[in-house]
Amino acid sequence: MNIVVFVKQVPDVPNIRIDEQRMTIIREGVESIINPLDCVALQASLELREREGGCITVISMGPPQSEEALREALAAGADQAILLTDSAFAGADTLATSHVLAMAVSKLQPFPDLLLCGMQTIDSDTGHVGPQIAEELDLPQVCGVNEIHMDGHLLVLKRLSEGFLDTIRVPLPALLTVSKDLCPVKNLSLGAVEAAFSQKDIIRWAAHDLGLQPDEVGLKGSATHVRKLRPPADRTGGRIVTGSPQFIVDALIHKLESMSILDEEDGNE
């Protein structure tokens, strides 16, 4: 089974800062990591390859320094890595990004059996890119998958939606976005990190390699325009109630009542 995993290099969230003028995330001096759910997708691809055989290609669109994320993916065990980098790609919204990623997939020979990505990124959090790639390539898509099995030529998937556990059968090729519950991400071996930097190559494709015109990509190719960007609000801390069980229960009921969450009329008395 040939698998493509899309990875995005994102700033480490506790450090996020916004450039108010340009409405972009400040990346200078901020540690970048692979989007954590993309790591889950990559781990899932490694486990599928172990069972089904095949080849894993990781693809990322981003500035030249995104090479670091791809090298890390190679260290985790991916077979090849493609960096889609071109100054024309800058300022892309999710649609323009998906278009470039879909064009890169179309260029792969043979066409992959399975496309995986995280269900959202921790920086922009839209969850758009996976579904848009699937639409452009006219592939079936399932979002938020937390279990993957093969049954003959079909993928058997599970996902939680609205309190139900869906079981979905999908023919290949298909695109899946994965949730954090799919599988735990393993630690990297230091020898694999060394080898990923000293022994492997990164394939680099620019707009012209993908047959893309400047007005299809980046800011010009974007259908949306960002008006305002702000970091997520700090979560207010919880309160820990200590004491005897009776005291804790009374305090909790009192608190819930005072917040009108628990209606006194609906009690069990």
């Binding site: 540690e31 990591i33 320094q65 090479e67 670091e68 090298r71 890390e72 260290a75 630690n187 990297l188 071996s189 230091l190 020898g191 694999a192 990190v193 060394e194 080898a195 930097f197 000293s198």
Partner: protein, 380 residues
């Protein structure tokens, strides 16, 4: 001149930090309290190449260069100095000399198990009457046919309680009085090798440091590392590299102290405001951070020279003496920032304070490092 870490070094730091914070930090208190070595976690580390950091992949290692090696030791020691010590000694002064001075056969027999973490290594130099003065060693090796027979007492052997392969420094008897200072590889299961009880140390209590006694311990001639009489060369070369490891360990302890002290200073309120707003606390934090950065640069400088094959005796000694003194000072300031709580086991800073002190003592005391530095200046 590049003073920024490379992309690879950034990935190495992030990889090790994640592993150290999730796997090694949670066991640090228990290791310090009980002195028990977490074999299950060591096995995970072995699988991730932590026991063959600078050893080439063909022998089962990671094949890292020295700056990456220093980053690994720093990041482990930042949360668990006793494990940092285990890894630094195993890699720096046990696996490394077997790689550098070993024959191909010795590499197969001893280096592969060391680099893959199947065996933990030691470096047995210190004796009751020989520490800084290595020339007064009393451990002897007498040739008897195809064997050497070893007799002597080694003390303060780091990793002693968990070791499988030991590098023992001994004088091979030649005639009446002469002896050739040499290094013998002695497996822990050899008859005549006995380990004493674990030392009750002030810090680094998670590392089973113990004496190793050799009583008519026979080893085959092929267990000699290098040639007869090459012991001093092996010891000096090894300790030059080893000092970088200890410096990185001290740096990790200092950085860990700064990190927990920063967090505490922001959380703790007195006189109606965060203590981080007080100038006295800010002075501590600024001093700690500045000296930590200076220590880090000295370590990278020595590491870079080592990787380039340039003499780095002076630079390694400078990095070791400076970083270990920074660790002692930074942990002292850290305890002071924590106030009364810093003197309790409720916070890790008291452990860092105890762990830091030995960095000024082992692998050459600060006084010996200064002798080395001064000698290299005066000989110029």
């Amino acid at each position: 001149m590049h003073l920024e870490p490379s992309m690879k070094q950034a990935v190495i730091r992030r990889t090790v930090r994640k592993f150290a914070e999730t796997r090694l930090a949670p066991v640090a208190v228990e290791m310090d309290r009980t002195g028990l070595f977490p074999w299950d976690i060591a096995q995970e580390m072995a699988d991730l190449n932590y026991f063959g950091l600078e050893i080439p992949a063909q022998y089962g290692g990671a094949g890292l260069e020295t700056i990456s090696y220093a980053i690994v030791i720093e990041e482990i020691s930042r949360v668990n100095a006793a494990m940092g010590l285990c890894v630094a000694v195993h890699n720096g002064v046990s696996a490394s000399p077997v790689y550098v001075f070993g024959t191909e056969k010795q590499r197969e027999r001893f280096l592969v198990p060391l680099a893959t973490g199947k065996k933990i290594g030691t470096f047995c130099l210190t004796e009751p009457n020989a520490g800084s003065d290595a020339s007064s060693l009393e451990t002897s090796a007498i040739r008897d046919g195809d064997n050497y027979i070893l007799n002597g007492n080694k003390v303060f052997v780091t990793n002693g309680g968990i070791s499988g392969i030991n590098l023992v420094f001994a004088g091979i008897q030649t005639g009446e009085k002469g002896k050739k200072f040499s290094v013998c590889i002695v497996e822990s299961e050899r008859e005549g090798l006995e380990k004493g009880p674990t030392e009750e140390l002030m810090g680094m209590r998670g590392n089973p440091v113990c004496p190793i006694v050799l009583h008519d311990c026979r080893i085959p001639l092929e267990n000699l590392l290098g040639e007869e009489g090459e012991g001093l060369k092996i010891a000096l070369t090894t300790l030059n590299g080893g000092r970088i490891g200890i410096a990185a360990q001290a740096l990790g302890i200092a950085q860990g102290s700064l990190d927990v002290s920063l967090k505490y200073a922001k959380e703790r309120n007195q006189f109606g405001k965060s203590i981080s707003e007080f100038g006295a606390i800010q002075d501590f934090l600024a001093d700690m951070a500045t000296r930590i950065e200076a220590a880090r640069l000295l370590i990278y400088r020595a590491s870079d020279l080592k990787d380039k094959g340039i003499n780095h005796v002076r630079e390694s000694a400078m990095a070791k003496v400076y970083a270990s003194e920074v660790a002692v000072d930074a942990t002292r300031m850290g305890v002071q920032i924590h106030g009364g709580y810093g003197y309790t086991k409720a916070y890790p800073i008291e452990r860092f304070y105890r762990d830091a002190k030995v960095c000024e003592i082992y692998e050459g005391t600060s006084e010996i490092q200064r002798m080395v530095i001064a000698k290299s200046l005066l000989n110029e």
